[in-house]
């Protein structure tokens, strides 16, 4: 062990000495919606990404002392034409070697297919969650540190299956969120051997859900999955189901998880369960401690830090800043095996990679890339006991 440390140190020092001559500066795009509907989130996402860059620069260990300069560009979140022009500028005139972003699914898709893919540029998005991005043609260039919305369907399937429930009825709020989640869940659940007796939409804001519940009850099932909203139709469906004794166990996805539900419904809800995004990872806490001048608990801030860190670590692992070369290293540095890396340990990680070691980047958001390079996500499994939400475990 001692020998290893010594040799690592020697190797690292050799690397850093030899690099002084070749030290140069590269640029990294921070391609987020600085204006537009999520500008308040981006106010914390962009500094988090730049924090990773500063940390790497301070360590001076990236590819023998290469320094990185982060350059911001605006996706606008909603305007695909503006986003396409912005990433075009990053790649052709700023000559970036990687892009952290985009943020919203629509502009990310446009930027990827129109500009990044033809130019062979790696993009790691911290916040695009559309399931469509899982299957997009990306030449292995696109990754995301945020989970696909479809992922929750898989997690929910696991939780239901573990409880031995093989047959459920499914109702969803009639919008993109509800429909997307319901479809993802149904596909995952049926693939796992479960059966969905009915998949019926409900409208929010109605006073009366007895007709909907009548249809659900007739279809039957051991539990009712309610992909709705806690203060809207979801609550009405549950109340009406309990009143008519149609179902007594409910599965609650993220839109339904909150203290308001057991308060409103009462003891009849005990025994129902579900999941919502959440993590107890120590990396998140570390980033909060490190955060300087921004709020690291803000949504997608941790994912932004991780996206920037992954790009630079992959460059180090591949020994090149060429996107075509380091794109294949992204999955390696993000996943096991290797030494676990938390925020604030990027210098250590670069050192290990330089000496030919292996790392498992955990980061602030518990990064685990699955499938076509997207985060597995972290979910808090909850159960309602004694009229209150209780955490079963994190998964």
């Amino acid at each position: 062990m001692k020998k290893l440390i010594v040799s690592t140190a020697v190797a690292a020092s050799i690397a850093s000495v030899s690099s002084v001559a070749s030290a140069d500066e590269i640029t990294l795009g921070v391609f987020l919606g600085l204006t537009g509907p999520i500008e308040s989130l981006v106010a914390n996402m962009a500094p988090a990404a730049e924090e990773a860059v500063n940390e790497v620069n301070a360590s001076g260990k990236l590819l023998g002392g290469t320094t990185v300069q982060a350059i911001r560009a605006d996706t606008t979140c909603v305007d695909a034409a503006a986003a396409t022009a912005a990433i075009e500028r990053l790649i052709t005139s700023e000559n970036v070697r990687g892009v952290v972003g985009g943020d919203c699914s629509g502009v990310t898709t446009a930027a990827l297919t129109n500009v990044a893919k033809p130019n062979g540029m790696v993009m790691i998005s911290p916040s695009a969650t559309s399931p469509a991005l899982s299957t997009i043609e990306d030449d292995g260039l696109f990754f995301r540190t945020a989970p696909s919305d479809a992922r929750q369907g898989v997690v929910m399937t696991e939780i239901i299956m573990e409880r031995g429930i093989k047959e459920v009825a499914l109702t969803y709020t009639n919008n993109d969120y509800g429909k997307g989640l319901a479809d993802a869940f149904q596909a995952a659940y049926e693939a796992a051997g479960g059966s969905v007796t009915i998949s019926a939409a409900h409208e929010d804001g109605k006073a009366d859900y007895s007709a909907e519940v009548g249809a659900l009850a007739s279809a039957g099932g051991e539990a009712l999955v309610v992909a709705g909203y806690i203060d809207q139709g979801g609550k009405g469906i549950i109340q009406s189901s309990l009143d008519t004794d149609a179902f007594d166990t409910f599965v609650l996805p993220d839109g339904m998880v909150g203290d308001a539900l057991p308060e409103a419904i009462g003891p009849d809800l005990n025994g129902s369960f579900g999941q919502a995004p959440g993590t107890d990872s120590e990396g998140a806490g570390k980033l909060v401690e490190m955060a300087n001048g921004y709020d690291a608990t803000s949504p997608f801030a941790a994912e932004s830090y991780d996206a920037a860190a992954l790009i630079m670590l992959a460059m180090q692992a591949a020994g090149s800043t060429d996107p075509q070369k380091y794109k294949d290293s992204v999955m390696d540095v993000a996943n096991a095996p290797g030494e676990k890396i938390l925020p604030g340990e990027l210098g250590k990680a670069l050192e290990i990679l330089a000496s030919g070691g292996d790392i498992d980047y955990v980061g602030a958001s518990n990064v685990e890339l699955i499938g076509a390079g997207e985060s597995a996500g972290n979910y808090r499994e909850i159960e309602i006991k004694d009229g209150a939400l209780s955490t079963v475990r994190y998964r």
Partner: protein
């Protein structure tokens, strides 16, 4: 035998009980519309929001009673608040008549002008309600929740299907019967009621025989406001109070009034139940029901559902169309539209 009882219990729980309660609420709403149409001769689009306004008064008074510790035992406190709410709601409606409709009455305006004016009143009422109580759900039900719970029913009878009846559903039906009886007694037996019917039949003749038109109009509005407040409160107790849902109720209420025959009180009641039952019967999935009655090997894979529940409101539209096409005066002979 058990299977047949189970099938009946199933239908009772998911179809008959909710449909009877909903039908009663629609019937009360449609009665208000039909009385205004019969006597004042225009379609009052503000009726849905008058219901919301009346319910809001009930809710505010209920909260006040609750804060003073007044309760009605196992029954909801809202029933105690109802008479006061009716008075306040009537006042609002009489003011709206004074400042809006009276002007058009003097002009002897066309019914369609009244109708458009009532749309304006609807928006004003809507705004008042949202301004005072907000657009959110309000819960004001208290007292016992159930007359019988499904689980108790199962335990008592040993059947595998339960029937649950909520207190609010029981109150709805009882109140509806009492209110309708009172209304018919009033219209048929009292002097004022008779003069209202005379005014409805032939305005000029009624005026010639010395009937005071102002009084007839005022009484009509008070009855309409009372019916709206009662219907709205019962709906809110049974389901939930949210101003926007009362606006949406306008369609099934008008469908009920037109199907029964506009201007005919008996028709309004029948229409309310026709609409409620068809909305629920057409969108119910009969899979389980058939499962009890059919032999085992005939079991259906599908849900046996005619229409998805999304199309619930479309049912009112279709019935409305069919009635207007084939029997424009409604099931019972109304004044016609």
């Amino acid at each position: 035998m058990d299977n047949i009882l189970n099938a009946l219990a199933l239908m009772a729980n998911f179809v008959f009980v909710p449909a009877i309660a909903y039908g009663s609420q629609l019937a009360l709403g449609a009665l208000g519309v039909t009385i205004v149409f019969g006597i004042l001769r225009f379609s009052n689009f503000a009726h849905g929001d008058t219901m919301a306004l009346g319910t809001m008064c009930t809710i505010l008074i209920t909260w006040w009673f609750q804060s003073m510790g007044i309760s009605f035992g196992p029954l909801p406190t809202a029933l105690l608040a109802l008479p006061f709410a009716i008075v306040i709601c009537s006042a609002f409606v009489l003011v709206s008549d004074r400042v809006v409709y009276r002007f058009y009455r003097k002009q002897k305006a066309d019914p369609v002008i009244y109708l458009i004016a009532s749309v304006g009143v609807m928006f004003v009422f809507n705004g008042i309600v949202r301004f005072i109580i907000g657009p959110d759900d309000q819960n004001f039900a208290d007292g016992e929740r159930f007359i019988i719970k499904a689980r108790e029913f199962k335990r008592l009878t040993g059947l595998s299907e339960g029937i649950s009846i909520k207190v609010s559903q029981g109150i709805t039906v009882v109140t509806m019967i009492v209110v309708v009886a009172l209304l018919f007694w009033f219209l048929n037996k009292t002097r004022t009621g008779k003069s209202m019917r005379a005014y409805s039949d032939n305005e000029d003749l009624a005026l010639l025989s010395g009937i005071n038109p102002d009084k007839v109009v005022a009484v009509t509005w008070i009855i309409a406001a009372a019916l709206a407040t009662i219907a709205g409160t019962l709906y809110g107790l049974d389901k939930s109070f949210k101003p926007f849902t009362y606006f949406q109720l306008l369609l099934p209420i008008f469908a009920a009034a037109i199907v029964g025959g506009l201007g005919n009180p008996l028709g309004a009641i029948a229409g309310g139940f026709v609409i409620a039952f068809s909305e629920i019967l057409v969108t119910y999935a009969y899979k389980k029901f058939a499962g009890y009655l059919m032999p085992e090997d005939w079991k259906a894979d599908g849900l046996i559902q005619l229409l998805s529940t999304d199309y619930k409101f479309a049912v009112s539209f279709v019935i409305l169309l069919l009635v207007l096409l084939f029997r424009p005066t409604g099931i019972f002979k109304g004044t016609g539209v």
